[in-house]
Amino acid sequence: MLELVTTRTNPMIDPSLYIWGWEIPVYLFLGGLVAGMMMISGYFLFKGRQREVSCSCLTLPLLSVVLLSLGMLALFIDLSHRWHFWRMYTTFEPTSPMSWGSWILLLVYPALLANALIRPPAWITSRLPWVIPLSQRIAERSATVKFIGIVNMLLGGLLGIYTGILLSAFGARPLWNSSILGLLFLTSGLSSAAAFVHMVASDPYEQKLLAKADNGFLTLELVIIALFLIGLVSSAQPHMEAAHLLLSGSYAPVFWVFVVGLGIVLPLVIQSMAVNYKIAHTPVAPILVVLGGLILRFVIVHAGQVSHWTRVVSSH
């Protein structure tokens, strides 16, 4: 029998690490969502769909700006020394995924704005008339539009992956210690974005395309989750215990019911049936996917903090 007792009772550290509450999962979700939206809208730009009147790619960029800003607000709130946040922008630390992320985020805004300038909405052009000639100059050149599309896809991809890499770089938390986490978050972001765009798209072609894409992403996500858990379970003891937090432990109910069941499998079934004309397209599936994506982030961030290398029996 092992008794390991510590006298340390540091807030947020003991008895179990709890430094990130709702702010980080919300940011990771919104970041992933925006990443997916950037990839989708960038793809549409690349394919020249911006010429279609009802292309969702025209509303997505500004929506992305709003959602991403909300995410960054959550990040800002999470900072415990927040009025020093600007220090992140006085340096670039190549070994810190967070540093990468903060600079990527900086680049994301101009990419989104460039994207938005291709067909700015009326409520902007009426207030800022100088936008119109600028927009025309961009929209005329298909090469420029394509380029903006590629940049959005690239930065979206980076944004989606880095959130996972950020967590996986914390070797001290065994649950996150998987190189597949970046892909998982990217795929989940794409899936959430596809679902979201499916909901807001007015063009039936896009709706169908995105539903199919979402099904693909959802299937891929299931595979990646399986690989993620298999990887942990076949690793060392702390990783096995971490995996079991999700598989059979305290996070199992939420994981299996809300993340896997309601967040992936059920919407996959519904959307598959809808895509195959068995039932009408319904917002139920996309809503479940989006919520599932959010809950996935919560589970990973919280369970990850619980997972650890040493096992303390009690704090005095």
Binding site: L2, L17, D78, H84, R87, M98, F170, T310
Partner: protein
């Protein structure tokens, strides 16, 4: 140059927490927070028991994940001795370093920045031992330069079996426990 390290003799340590209290008064550590602490490890079944007591703190690793993950350049390695420190004014409180430390040695100070043991660098640079080492009534704690083969820490490590915590984490901790 210099590589500061601590060597702690667990045979002599009685876990009295003098090191914890001295650190508190020396460094003004806020109530409810500890830069160092005691771990009591007991194995076996009564009465065949074995106990090891360790005074623990930041290990001032040679491969510190807390430094690598800091986006602000607040967490850094001091120019002398390999001591891992935090520039409080550069810290944004993102808590990446706290997630990165496998020893859970850091904490967020009530004023918002990440904080931890500093090896009492302010004392060391005046030629004195860290407060915990200087106070220890069982004389079980030693501090010195591992790059000096004649330092007490070097000689102790050369003469007695010892271990560090979680060597498999790859952090290269510089806090050594004599068995």
């Amino acid at each position: 140059m210099a590589r500061y390290a601590m060597v702690i003799d667990t045979a002599r340590c009685v876990g009295c927490m003098d090191c914890v209290v001295a650190c508190k008064t020396e460094n003004g550590v806020p109530e409810g927070y500890d830069r160092d602490w005691i771990a009591y490890e007991t194995t076996g079944a009564f009465p065949s028991l074995h106990m090891q007591i360790r005074s623990e703190r930041c290990n001032h690793c040679d491969n510190p994940p807390c430094v690598f993950c800091c986006p602000c350049g607040a967490s850094h390695i001091h120019e002398r001795g390999g001591v891992v420190l935090v520039h409080h004014d550069k810290c944004s409180g993102c808590k990446a370093c706290i997630a990165a430390c496998p020893y859970d040695a850091r904490f967020i100070h009530p004023e918002g920045y990440a904080d931890k043991c500093t090896f009492c660098i302010h004392r060391v640079e005046e030629g004195r031992d860290p407060a915990c080492v200087a106070v220890c009534p069982t004389h079980c704690m030693h501090f010195g330069d591992l790059e000096d083969p004649n330092s007490n820490v070097s000689r102790l490590l050369a003469s007695r079996t010892h271990h560090a915590l979680l060597p498999e984490a790859g952090t290269k901790p510089q806090l050594w426990y004599l068995d």
